[in-house]
């Protein structure tokens, strides 16, 4: 177990390092942030001073070394725009994004799994066909446009929920949460549903495929031959076999939810990391871009690790490679 964790940790570090080099080199070869930072009327002397102060006159690899040394001590540089530590900015916005992503994941599972089971149990029923048609639609509709339509319908015309912001939040352990207040919840529901749409379709398809596959198996036949009730066959025998492979997918999808939150946050003015990165890209705020990407990669690596571990716990057939050696 320890060996396994160490090896996975090592892999994660290598990925992080490679990503940091790629992103750093890429980001630092484009444009000139000084143009953004300084007014057009600045004197050449002021310009040179700023370049020197930001360390932009050094060769790229020296800049990277400085960056790496600083990064290892948790300092990813100051945002050019906000003149504050980039990492701090990211961490400040992260809870909002995570809340959005987890809520979306929750919605995707709570809606997707029952619909998928229903469609898998009776593949030819009209309701099942309806569910599958919905899932095709969910796959092909561009999320951002659906988001706009949701605002138009639910916020502008019906006026049921607000169109933007986080609403009232409650602080728990130093982190703000929207879902704990009614107002916050009303702000959360629209963006979270929007973000979840694509994943609902995905969960429906995976669950349906898993259920119809499990129903064909001999262990279901044998369970029926034992006289086990149909309810138990579906909810114990079929569902457990369906949900285990779903864990892997869900983990990977959590990462993609965090990434895709960029779009949803922009549409719904949700104050998360996504909005921050879009602004940073538009304004070439390199430290923020870098910090965002590194943090995202770190999160992805962590999520993958957790998913692997969860999978081993859930599926008795899987044993960690490290445990065997």
């Amino acid at each position: 177990m320890t060996a396994y964790l160490l090896r996975r940790g090592g892999q994660a570090l290598v990925t992080l390092f490679v990503m940091s080099v790629l992103v750093f080199v890429g980001v630092y070869l484009v444009g000139n942030p000084v143009d953004v930072m300084i007014s057009a009327t600045a004197t050449p002397a002021e310009r040179a001073e700023l370049i020197r102060r930001m360390g932009l006159d050094q060769p790229v690899w020296v800049q990277y070394r400085h960056f790496l040394t600083a990064a290892l001590s948790g300092d990813l540089g100051n945002s050019f725009l906000y003149n504050r530590p980039a990492l701090g900015l990211i961490f400040e916005r992260m809870p909002a994004t995570l809340e959005l992503a987890f809520t979306a994941l929750f919605i995707a599972l709570v809606i997707g799994i029952p619909l998928g089971v229903a469609a898998g149990l009776r593949p030819n029923a009209p309701t099942s066909r309806g569910i599958m048609a919905f899932s095709i639609l969910g796959f092909s509709l561009p999320t951002f446009w659906v988001g706009l339509m949701m605002i138009l319908l639910f916020a502008v015309y019906l006026g049921w929920v607000p169109a933007s912001g986080r609403g009232e939040t409650v602080e728990v352990l130093g982190v703000d949460f929207s879902f704990l207040t009614l107002d916050g919840l009303s702000h959360l529901i629209l963006p979270a549903t929007n973000l979840a749409l694509f994943k609902i379709s995905l969960v429906i398809r995976l669950t349906r495929a898993g259920v119809s596959e499990a129903l064909q198996t001999e262990y279901v036949l044998f369970a029926r031959a034992k006289g086990v009730s149909e309810t138990r066959v579906v909810f114990v025998h079929v569902l457990k076999n369906t949900l285990i492979p779903l864990i892997t997918v869900i983990g990977l999808e959590l990462g993609s939810l965090i990434a895709f939150a960029v779009v949803t946050e922009t549409i719904f003015s949700w104050p998360g990391m996504g909005k921050l990165i879009i602004d940073a890209i538009a304004r070439l705020d390199r430290p923020v871009i870098l910090a965002y990407l590194l943090i995202t990669v770190l999160m992805f690596t962590l999520i993958n690790l957790i998913v692997d571990l969860a999978y081993t716990v859930a599926d008795p057939r899987v044993e960690l490679e490290g445990r065997r050696s």
Binding site: E218, L221, A225, N241
Partner: protein, 333 residues
């Protein structure tokens, strides 16, 4: 109440396909008395497994039982409501399947899969009692340290051990009848004979009747008292074991016996019945065996019926074998 435990009459099971229904099993009748071990033999696709599943009421979409009676203790299972039928399954009739790798749910522990077979029929039983019964059942089928093995998952057992587990599950509620669908086919020959011997012993001790479905005549010979031979969805011959093996009446049964490798002289080419069993959606007219039959005549295009030719003996053939001589070309070359 009749002396027969199970009496199947005129069973027909069809499967719906793109071009309408096709019958996988047609006009199958069989009886099993208490404690009797009956063999159901035939090639793959002959309808023997479908017959077993039909008796259990486990034919799923797109198949369905369309005709016939399935009487257990004089009660027609086809007329029973679903819940009542479910109450019988695993309780009065149990079934074991071919591949023990597939019949146990890979993600549930053995105790979960055993205890549910008890609680499904007795909601009041407490967990400790049920667990103790499961442990004893594992011990009876020869699984060492059953208490610990209860907590194991199926993948931690070998194939033979897994099949013992499924047998233990089938025996849990001391059913009157077990339908065993080729349960030893996937196992090594040594393990196969162990399991056969144990099944025989268990059934004798408990007075459990057994329908043993197989394509292997040697297993039938070792285990059963009476035999039904199936071909292309119908029973073509039935009789006591020795009668059928020593004096087969149907040319198909005859060919099947001749196909056993040990029945051939060493060094000679192994015998096989010419041609192949017909697919169920393209059955030949009349006697379904006639395209492969060495005794075929004009009237074989007329459908034969299963006629008794003595006590406990019946054959579905217009020209049953009366004399003992080589029938097929090349058979004793």
């Amino acid at each position: 109440m009749s002396k027969n435990l199970l009496e199947v009459r005129g069973l027909e099971t069809v499967f719906g396909g793109e071009h309408g229904d096709v019958a996988a099993v047609r006009d199958v009748s069989l009886t099993v008395s208490r404690g009797e071990i009956v063999g159901l033999v035939g090639e793959s696709g002959s309808g023997k497994s479908v017959t077993g599943l039909s008796i259990m009421g486990l034919i799923g979409h797109p198949g369905r039982v369309t005709k016939g009676e399935i009487m257990l203790h004089g009660e027609d299972l086809r007329r029973l409501p679903t819940t009542a039928l479910r109450g019988l399954r695993g309780n009065r009739i149990a079934m074991i399947f071919q591949d023990p790798m597939m019949t146990l749910n890979p993600v549930l522990r053995i105790d979960t899969q055993m205890i549910e077979a008890i609680t499904a029929h007795d909601a009041k039983v407490d967990r400790t009692t049920a667990r103790a019964r499961c442990r004893d059942a594992l011990g009876i089928v020869g699984i060492p340290s059953p208490e610990e093995r209860l907590k194991a998952y199926p993948h931690q057992f070998s194939g033979g051990m897994r099949q013992r587990v499924t047998i233990a599950i089938a025996m849990l509620n001391s059913p009157d009848l077990i339908i065993a669908d080729e349960p030893t086919t996937a196992l090594d020959v040594t393990i196969q004979s162990q399991i056969l011997a144990e099944m025989q012993k268990l059934c004798r001790e408990r007075g459990t009747a057994l329908i043993w479905i197989t394509h292997d005549l040697t297993v039938i010979a070792a285990l059963t008292q009476r035999v039904y031979v199936m071909y292309a969805g119908s029973v073509v011959e039935e009789g006591l074991l020795d009668d059928v093996l020593d004096r087969p009446l149907h040319p198909y049964t005859y060919g099947l016996i001749r196909s056993i490798p040990s029945d051939n002289a060493p060094g000679k080419r192994l015998f096989q019945i010419p041609g192949m069993a017909p697919p169920i959606d393209r059955m030949p007219k009349g006697c379904r065996f006639h395209p492969r039959c060495p005794r075929v005549q004009e009237d074989c295009l007329r459908e034969p019926s299963l006629d008794a030719s003595g006590p406990n003996r019946a054959v579905r053939c217009h020209h049953p074998i009366a004399e003992d001589k080589a029938l097929f070309e090349g058979e004793r070359a």
